[in-house]
């Protein structure tokens, strides 16, 4: 069980997405998942080992690391990727459920390009949830770490550290660069979700309006 599982699930979702939805899937795979696995994971791999405090007091490093990094950036990043990808499964479940229920009409969604009725509602809900999760995680990152900067040095005075002790974080610049990259791709994904949402709402409102107008005419 690894990221490959998520990738396979998402490929299934792709079939019922709009064009913007497919761009979103491509951005998530290439710029978030692949960057995470190929580059970011290794930067944070030895973060605890390489976190060094200017003291020989046993336990001080552990306590300070735990205080400054309650949840590691890389774990938050992984959680964000999982939570943001999951709402798309609602669409897959909806299709499977409907096709299972109406067994006499096996291929209910013969034309995956057309999203209508109940499937449209599910799709819109999944878009709203995706956007909400993205924003929640960005805010969480910001609040937990006081912005997206990673300092070289943090001062720690928690017991058992004697007085105030200087603690040095490993690879702060590299971590900061990748954090900014994460924020940028997150914002891009939020933009894509919002534009897809507006596009779908606009398209189907126009369609409804036209249908009503045609009925009135008749």
């Amino acid at each position: 069980m690894s990221w490959g599982f998520l990738r396979d699930l998402m490929s299934g979702v792709n079939k019922y997405s709009t064009g913007i939805g497919r761009i979103w899937v491509a951005v998530v795979f290439m710029f978030r998942l692949l960057v995470y696995v190929a580059a970011a994971e290794n930067i944070w791999k030895y973060e605890h080992d390489e976190f060094e405090c200017n003291t020989k007091q046993p336990g001080c490093e552990n306590v300070c690391f735990d205080h400054f990094f309650p949840v590691s950036h890389i774990r938050l990043w992984a959680l964000q990727l999982i939570m943001v990808s999951t709402p798309s499964l609602l669409v897959v479940f909806h299709v499977a459920y409907r096709e299972n229920r109406e067994k006499h009409n096996q291929k209910l969604y013969r034309n995956p390009g057309k999203i209508e009725g109940g499937l449209l509602c599910t799709y819109l809900i999944s878009l709203i949830l995706k956007t909400a999760f993205e924003i929640v995680f960005l805010v969480l990152f910001y609040k937990l770490y006081n912005g997206f900067k990673i300092p070289h040095l943090v001062k720690c005075d928690i017991r058992p550290c004697p007085g105030t002790v200087d603690c040095y974080i490993s690879k702060p610049t590299e971590k900061m660069v990748f954090l900014y990259f994460l924020v940028a791709t997150s914002c891009l994904c939020i933009l894509l979700n919002l534009s897809e949402l507006s596009y779908l709402i606009f398209k189907y409102s126009i369609k409804c309006y036209l249908e009503k107008y045609m009925k009135k005419q008749q």
């Binding site: 692949l34 960057v35 030895y46 040095l153 040095y168 690879k171 990748f178």
Partner: protein, 262 residues
């Protein structure tokens, strides 16, 4: 999710590329991604652990390492490979869009549609002309830009492509100027030069492909302006031969690269 997944995605684009594009893809996978995964990652694996400074002062090593290596070579390469591979997705999306349109026509029962079934649409190879030509050419242009930007970033960040054995560091909290020793500098220099060389080859391939596409475009235009109506069969025969050549090269590329995915 790993480089193998990228291979699957780009493999689909391979079918619609020119011969030079297929060579570029092979060079990318064998001489860049494979070298990165199999060799380079191991060379840089212990870079901070074995970065040793001549001091017992806690924190000095961390600070000096961060100063001299703001972004590790290996990460820059990984980013470069991801960015350079991304424009090919533009082509993949365009092809998928075209297929979608053909399928829609087919389902509507359009008599203009020449396909017998959906499978034939899926298997069909589109020629690089019309709007696909523009998408393909822009993707090559973006590839070139990304390659050049990353090569410049490397040169700028590390003052050239050599890895020195010794670096002098006097950033706080290091007491005075401290000698810091990089692990495996020669091996790292060799791999850096190798990756830069292969990057340059890829740039040359992209430039050649761009020139080839532009030449083909202008030739086609001048033929259309001239009397191409007189010999339609000859032009078709030439293009079928090109298609067959492309298929042969594509098959041999698939065979060389297929053992790579793991």
């Amino acid at each position: 999710m790993d480089w193998g997944a990228l291979h699957t995605i780009l493999g689909g684009v391979n079918k619609h590329s020119t011969s030079i594009g297929k060579i570029w893809l092979t060079v990318l996978f064998i001489f860049r991604i494979m070298i990165l995964v199999v060799a380079a990652e191991r060379v840089w694996g212990d870079e901070q652990d074995d970065f040793v400074c001549n001091t017992l002062q806690p924190g000095c090593r961390n600070v000096c390492y961060d100063h001299f290596f703001p972004i590790s070579h290996i990460r820059l390469w990984a980013l470069q490979l991801i960015f350079v591979s991304t424009p090919a997705l533009l082509v993949a999306m365009h092809v998928a869009y075209r297929r979608h349109e053909k399928k829609r026509q087919f389902r509507k029962g359009d008599q203009k549609c020449e396909y017998k079934d959906i499978e034939e649409i899926r298997r069909q190879r589109f020629r690089i002309e019309g709007s696909l030509w523009w998408t393909y050419t822009s993707s090559i242009f973006f590839r070139l830009v990304f390659e050049a930007v990353f090569m410049y970033a490397f040169y700028f960040m590390y003052d050239g492509f050599r890895m020195p054995r010794l670096m002098k560091c006097n950033i706080w909290p290091c007491p005075n100027t401290v000698d810091c020793f990089v692990s495996r500098p020669t091996e790292k220099t060799v791999f850096t030069i190798f990756m830069i060389a292969v990057s340059s080859i890829c740039i040359l391939l992209n430039v050649a492909e761009l020139c080839y596409l532009l030449t083909k475009f202008f030739l086609r235009r001048s033929r259309k302006a001239g009397n191409s109506k007189q010999q339609p069969n000859h032009e078709n025969k030439e293009e079928t031969k090109q298609n067959e050549m492309n298929e042969l090269i594509s098959d041999s590329c698939q065979n060389t690269v297929i053992g790579f995915t793991s």
